[in-house]
Amino acid sequence: MASSRPRGSSFSRNISSAATSQVPGVKLGPNGTSFLSSGISDLDQILGGGFTLGSLVMIMEDPEAPHHMLLLRNFMSQGLIHKQPLLYASPEKDPRGFLGTLPSPMASKEEKSHERPAEQDANLRIAWQYKKYFGEQNSEVQRGGKAEYCNDFDLRKPLERHYYSGQRVDCISLRDSSNLAPLLERCSTFSAQISKSDGNITCAGRIAIQSLCSPQCDFSNKEWDMLSFIRSLKGMVRSSGAVAVISFPPSLVSPTFLKRWQHLADTLISVKAIPDEDKELAKLLTGYQDMLGLLSIHKVARINTQVPAILEATTFSMKLRKRRALVLECLNQAPVDGSSGSSYGTSGSCSGSSKTGNLDF
């Protein structure tokens, strides 16, 4: 686990980011696993490198907001940029049309010029927000290799057509059939293409299934069928070099089945929208206005190891940086308002930091 890379703080996760494998877009992780980027550099970092190859990722949707689409879009876009085969299934009539909404990567030059002024402000940063800025530093470290492991995506700019007009992109509508057999067949042919040969991955693939149990699908009431589909998919993905991401609305699955689904997931993420005018929450959290929603990580894939992954924090806020790039930040509690009378908070955060400047430890 020892890495020579200078770390942001002694509390950050130790990620061996230096190791990159031959296959583009695949990073070697601990215990003989490999990682694929989720398309969001912050999420990669939180998960310890990205989505583990051969794992099943499940995203619990928010019934009111399409935040899961942001995750799916970035995940799919990242795969297309790395020229990895993609299988996309959705309950829409025309799933291929969705590819037109995928975000395009930001030009790295443009990104750097944006990054500079922020760096110059470094001296003015206030201590209690320090955690926010580690992400920036580390993402800079990752940038450097020719082919980037994780791009930054501009959510306002659609992906260029040539990325997804290739033959390795397969789309399927969940509405086409009354059962899951065709989808399972497509998944098995897909994962057979990219199967590992003696443990070596020659090519990584991505499977994205959106809103698996949505009521538009005929099979949405066949809970056992869906469950055995997920299990089969998990088995297929595990033996191949692919990552499957399934998003589903948890409110439509009955409680016992929800638990079963959660047990089957290797990595479990949930997204939640935050209400527009929640004054209590606004008082509690800083940067409430810029928040899109909350992302919680319930489970991290543990393949080839028995040690559970204990994260520093499990809930993160989703924000748009400069209205285009999706970033995840730790929740920061707002400092207690000085006028409200409790002097403890103010002295702890402001005068405390100025004092440590004088006392040299």
Binding site: R231, R238, R260, H263, H298, T305, Q306, I310
Partner: protein, 256 residues
């Protein structure tokens, strides 16, 4: 076993476990995985000093997963497999679909039972005293493979339990407790718990997960017959911390 300090889990289970004919049920939940208890048992049964045999029925993970974990714990499954002490049945893709009617569904599990029985027969006929342990990871996936028929699953388990009487096999199974929390599904977990001699539950701490305490284990030992003839069930509760090569067990607050 791993260190000179008494291992709380071993202590709680009691020494009789290796003698055969015992049923251990491990229960966990989404937040805390109990798979490490299975790994612990695997290592223990495959200890170089004994000649015990383990038949492992894996629904959850492929062989490479277990192999890598056990290797870190100092137990080479590939070698044990070659030496006929470890039988691995990969059921990751076992399907007993409904397509061909009710018969087919049963066939899948029946075939699996046949395989287990065959293996048990072969190993018990060999010379020397050895205990055969059957491990299943995990039971809830049998139900999925049987497409939701809990009766088939229970039948399968009962069939397996008959091996206990016939050959003195032990059982270690993993199940997920939180799946069976609603009233109409409770029956299944109650049945498996009834048949168990030792129930080990892995739960998260009420205060959330911490990096130095990964959760707590509750061990209910039903069949501990004391020297004085009285049979008493004992409940033990302690915390654990999972590491790559072993697991630390300690009482709350005793870890510095």
């Amino acid at each position: 076993m791993d260190n000179s300090r008494a291992n709380l889990l071993e202590e709680a289970i009691g020494i009789g476990i290796g003698k055969g004919g015992r049923v251990v049920v491990v229960e966990d939940c989404v937040e805390t995985s109990g798979a490490f208890v299975l790994h612990h048992f695997l290592k223990r049964f495959l200890h170089p000093d004994s000649s015990d045999v383990v038949i492992f029925i894996a629904f959850a993970h492929p062989f490479s997963h277990y192999e890598r974990i056990l290797r870190k714990m100092g137990c080479n499954l590939t070698v044990h497999r070659k030496n006929h002490r470890f039988v691995f049945l990969d059921m990751l893709t076992l399907e007993c679909p409904e397509r061909n009617g009710r018969e087919a569904r049963e066939d899948g599990l029946l075939a699996l039972y046949g395989e287990i029985e065959k293996a048990v027969e072969i190993y018990s006929s060999l010379e020397g005293s050895r205990t055969i342990t059957i491990m299943i990871d995990d039971i809830s996936l049998i139900e999925v493979a049987a497409n939701g028929s809990s009766n088939h699953m229970l039948d399968f388990l009962h069939y397996c339990y008959t091996l206990k009487a016939k050959y003195g096999c032990s059982f270690v199974t993993l199940n997920h407790e939180d799946i069976y929390s609603s009233a109409n599904t409770l029956q299944l977990i109650l049945q498996t718990e009834y048949l168990a001699d030792v129930i080990i539950k892995a739960e998260p701490l009420a205060t959330g997960l911490a990096s130095d305490v990964h959760g707590q284990l509750t061990v209910l030992n039903k069949g501990s017959v004391s020297e004085f003839g009285g049979s008493s069930s004992k409940v033990r509760n302690f915390h654990f911390r999972v590491k790559e090569n072993n697991v630390d067990y300690f009482y709350p607050g005793s870890q510095t």
